[in-house]
Symmetry: C2
Subunit: 164 residues, 2 copies
């Protein structure tokens, strides 16, 4: 399946929270997101990588308006989870390349990363699906990232603002 | 937007590779996936969490048939990236809850995680999009995970095998 890139989307409303150094055993992910779901806070991205030495980090993004509440909740549960730390940052943006057949091509992802590398934009977080490659970057790089990707992938359609 | 879960999908063909402890600066993601793209290897999931102390881990999944080749390529580039280690595992499966409005509800994600926790199934990796919550688990838990999620979410449609 040849990838067909339909466009670029971005989201300036997000804030990220990371629970650092949680035990990598059953029940932890549920204990982290349970209180967030109970507080009726919408979650966008959830990213957890493979752990090492029995620990891993758990990151999720919420709307900026829920950042302080979510951070407060996480600080309250972190102790009971045995987490090392809770970190948050609301100065981020999500930029996504949207299309079909994305996964059938490491080329699309590596081209996306090469464009950002050339512009010296650090990729803070990555999450993909069959129809999207999403990266989280510092918010100050939003315009530069969107414009460079738009040019390198020779896209016509205007980038879409996916406000939450 | 109320979440509407349309079903469960799973994928038994995947293998995961993790480049551990890479420097978290521009150009690294491109240096990792460039050689994989050049070797025409399809990549499904790409997961990178926020780093700490200037380092992060970078994981991606490939079809099991490409696992040995991808591992070989990663071992060759790891040194030039300054990575601490390259790890791989082909005894995994991806299980996804598919639907719309997924992100508008931490409840759906935490319910998914609670089901797996109750069955004592450890979640190795998590990646989400607007239409999917995907977890990577040990392959031995595939049937138990799919059956439990199917029951807890009271789904009708048979789970879909998304073979790559
Ligand atoms: C870290 C967390 O995902 C844990 N592995 C769990 O299953 O809940
Ligand atoms: C780790 C990797 O994603 C790095 N931050 C980069 O921008 O390439």
């Amino acid at each position: 399946e040849d990838p067909i890139i339909s466009g670029i989307a971005f989201n300036r409303d997000e804030a990220q929270l990371t629970v650092v150094g949680v035990p990598d055993h059953p029940g932890i992910a549920s204990a982290i997101l349970g209180p967030i779901g109970a507080a009726n806070i919408e979650v966008d991205m959830i990213v957890q990588n493979v752990g090492s030495d029995g620990l891993t980090d758990f990151t999720f993004t919420v709307h900026k308006r829920d950042f302080a509440t979510a951070l407060q909740i996480m600080r309250e549960v972190a102790g009971s989870l045995g987490a090392k730390d809770v970190r948050g940052d609301d100065d981020i943006v999500k930029v996504s390349l949207v299309g079909v057949g994305m996964r059938s091509h490491a080329g699309v992802a590596s081209k996306t990363f090469a464009t950002l590398a050339r512009e010296n934009i650090n990729i803070r977080m990555i999450s993909t699906s069959e129809i999207k490659i999403s990266v989280v970057i510092d918010s100050k790089y939003l315009e530069l990232a969107v414009r460079s990707l738009h040019k390198d992938f020779a896209l016509d359609r205007e980038p879409q603002d996916e406000a939450l």
